[in-house]
């Protein structure tokens, strides 16, 4: 197995507050890593640091074995083209149609002809289970679930090896949320993606994650499969996983005796 993301001794400070201290994490190729933690535990911050939107106060992050900030614009751009990010609210360009949104990264690349771009956009739309006629809608005409799907199609348009999801199911009703989880899970299997996701939702966690990293007390408190995490005795983990709603959500996966 090769590491896709390596985080070494990462520390982050906002003003006087330390969000992370000496945090270490390695994400392997092909796994689905979920970052969980309470509000303000720095999950989204960590996700943004992984893709270079924020630079850490101290420490090192390597993507595909390369550092994020090399000072070489060409190299940095190529590295950034190897991953796709699904933002929490989709972050679709509101003045573009769905088609233009998905085609945008390909057009920026500037080497592929328009016919191929057209076919690829239609392919991505079908991969996220949208219809060709949706391509001509504006983002303001889409429902919450459709925005997420279009954003996912856009994140996939550069054929990334790594997909980062920030709260992929937040704001979706349970039914939509479940089908979105199924969609991501099937894309993960088909495309052999590495997926990193931040979530609060236990159903999403149970449905997707192969490994879970629990962020609390400014570090990775626990790391492992869901079953392993459940065995860790810590107040935060007990509260997060072992209350009634968590048991209901995880019922399908584990027997109650394990708790």
């Amino acid at each position: 197995m090769t590491a896709v993301i390596e985080i070494e001794n990462l520390s982050t400070r906002f003003g006087e507050t330390w969000v992370h201290r000496d945090l270490n994490l390695v994400i392997e190729k092909g796994e689905v890593m979920a970052l969980v933690g309470g509000s303000g535990s720095g999950k989204t911050t960590l996700l943004r640091q992984m893709i270079g939107l924020l630079s850490p106060t101290q420490g090192r992050i390597r993507l595909f074995g390369e550092p994020l900030f090399t000072g070489n614009p060409e190299q940095e751009r190529n590295l950034r083209r190897r991953f796709g990010m699904l933002f929490q609210y989709g972050a679709l360009y509101s003045s573009f149609t769905v088609f233009q949104n998905i085609a945008f990264p390909l057009r920026e690349l500037g080497v592929v002809d328009e016919d191929l771009i057209h076919d690829l956009v239609m392919l991505k739309l079908s991969m996220v289970e949208l219809l060709p006629r949706h391509a001509w809608l504006m983002p303001s005409e889409l429902s919450g679930g459709m925005i997420k799907r279009v954003a996912l199609a856009r994140a996939l348009s550069m054929e990334p090896e790594l997909l980062l999801l920030d709260e992929p199911t937040a704001g979706l009703d349970p039914d939509r949320s479940e089908s979105f989880v199924r969609l991501i899970s099937s894309l993960h299997q088909q495309l052999g993606l590495t997926v990193v996701l931040v979530t609060h939702d236990l159903d999403t966690l149970a449905g997707l994650a192969t490994r879970v990293a629990v962020l609390a007390e400014q570090r990775i408190l626990a790391l492992g499969t869901i079953d392993e995490i459940m065995k860790v005795d810590h107040p935060f983990i007990r509260n997060f996983f072992c209350c009634d709603r968590a048991q209901r959500a995880l019922q399908g996966r584990i027997s109650v005796e394990n708790l």
Partner: protein, 374 residues
């Protein structure tokens, strides 16, 4: 990482095979996409050609789509493939089966509908704007009846933002305009030996006309656009809906303070800018025509009746109210996307400047017999 490669071979039976190998992924293909695609299309013209794609190390949808298109959206008759490449093509096949809706043709009388649509939009603007004016008048009545419930803090904040903070820029622009106007007039007046009339020209021009319009244009660009953008973003982030939910009138809390602030700030800014512009004119007149500051100041009240100052202040109030109302009108029309925000901000500034000029023309007609020296 090895790039994609194409090799043409002939086997023992004399059949020609195209052997593809390497990485057929977007990032690897990007550098020589055009050449590869042309080569594929050239080779695919020969239907009897065999395709061997077993040596492809990795294939993503871009690579697969290139092949699929070269093959004419179906598998070629002679194809040697690997099982793990199947799903990539299966996705393409599934996507290809979906019917694409052709864009609807433009009906022949589309332009009639466009004109009609524009007229209706203009009508809606007028109706909404009238509604806004009515609402603000009602708010003003409310404020007079219950002064304690009026949004004084917001008004005061707006007064500071759009009045006090605008002083440096209006002063700078006013001073420079004064200098330029005085300099250009002086060149002409010298020819006629009518040097002393520089005071009349600057006094009447700046106080009655230029000062108010100049300030209105500056404030429309500076505060009007800010007001539209602020209301627009509040609309995007649903803050305006949140206000309505709490039973707070948006016109009372957002529109009225802005209007009140500009109605107070604008006449003061007009006074300030006109004074500075006259100073600029005075400086220039002294250099160009040797007209002393003392003479200038002494003559000014004699040649410019004080009524002009009242007209200027009245214009200031009217322009301020119009700029604020137009800005709020467009701000409240912003729909939740960035395009709408930018379009409405532009429309707000352009419309408020236009409205200011229109109102100025009305003033010119209404006051044509007031304040002119006999």
């Amino acid at each position: 990482m090895s790039g994609a490669s194409i090799v043409l071979e002939t086997d023992a039976e004399g059949r020609r095979w195209l052997r593809l190998a390497g990485e057929w992924r977007l990032m690897a293909l990007a550098t020589h996409y055009a050449a590869l695609n042309a080569e594929l299309l050239k080779q695919a013209a020969d239907a009897s050609l065999g395709w061997d794609i077993r040596d492809i190390q990795s294939l993503d949808s871009v690579g697969a789509m290139m092949l699929w298109r070269a093959w004419g959206h179906r598998f070629p008759e002679n194809l040697n493939t690997r099982d793990d490449l199947e799903p990539v093509f299966a996705r393409l096949y599934a996507a290809g089966k979906l019917k694409e809706a052709a864009p609807e043709p433009v009906p022949p009388l589309e332009w009639v509908a466009t004109i009609g649509g524009l007229t209706l939009r203009l009508w809606r603007h007028l109706v909404d704007f009238t509604g806004l004016i009515g609402q603000v008048v009602l708010d003003a009545g409310q404020v007079i009846r219950k002064p304690r419930e009026a949004p004084w803090r917001e008004s005061s904040a707006n007064l500071y933002k759009s009045g006090v903070r605008a002083m440096p820029v209006t002063a700078l622009v006013g001073f420079l305009i004064g200098i330029v106007l005085s300099y250009l007039s002086a060149l002409q007046l010298k020819n006629f030996g009518a040097d002393i009339f520089i005071v009349n020209i600057l006094g009447m021009g700046i106080i009655r006309e230029l000062g108010p319009v100049l300030v209105a244009v500056l404030v429309a660009g500076r505060s009007g656009s800010a007001m539209t953008a602020q209301l627009g973003v509040m609309r995007v982030t649903e803050e305006i809906d949140a206000l309505a939910t709490m039973g707070v009138s948006r016109s009372m809390r957002l529109v009225f303070p802005k209007m009140l602030a500009l109605a107070i700030a604008m006449p003061l800014l007009v006074l300030w800018t006109s004074a500075i512009a006259l100073m600029g004119g005075m400086v220039s007149a002294q250099f160009q025509l040797d007209i002393s500051y003392g003479y200038f100041i002494e003559t000014l009240p004699k040649v410019v009746p004080v009524a002009n100052l009242y007209i200027a202040l009245a214009k200031g109030v009217a322009f301020g109210i119009m700029v604020a109302l137009v800005a709020c009108h467009f701000g409240l029309r912003v729909r939740p996307n960035t395009e709408s925000l930018s379009a409405n901000t532009t429309a707000s500034v352009v419309s408020s400047i236009t409205v200011v000029i229109l109102v100025d023309a009305v003033f010119a007609i209404a006051t044509r017999s007031i304040g002119l020296p006999t």
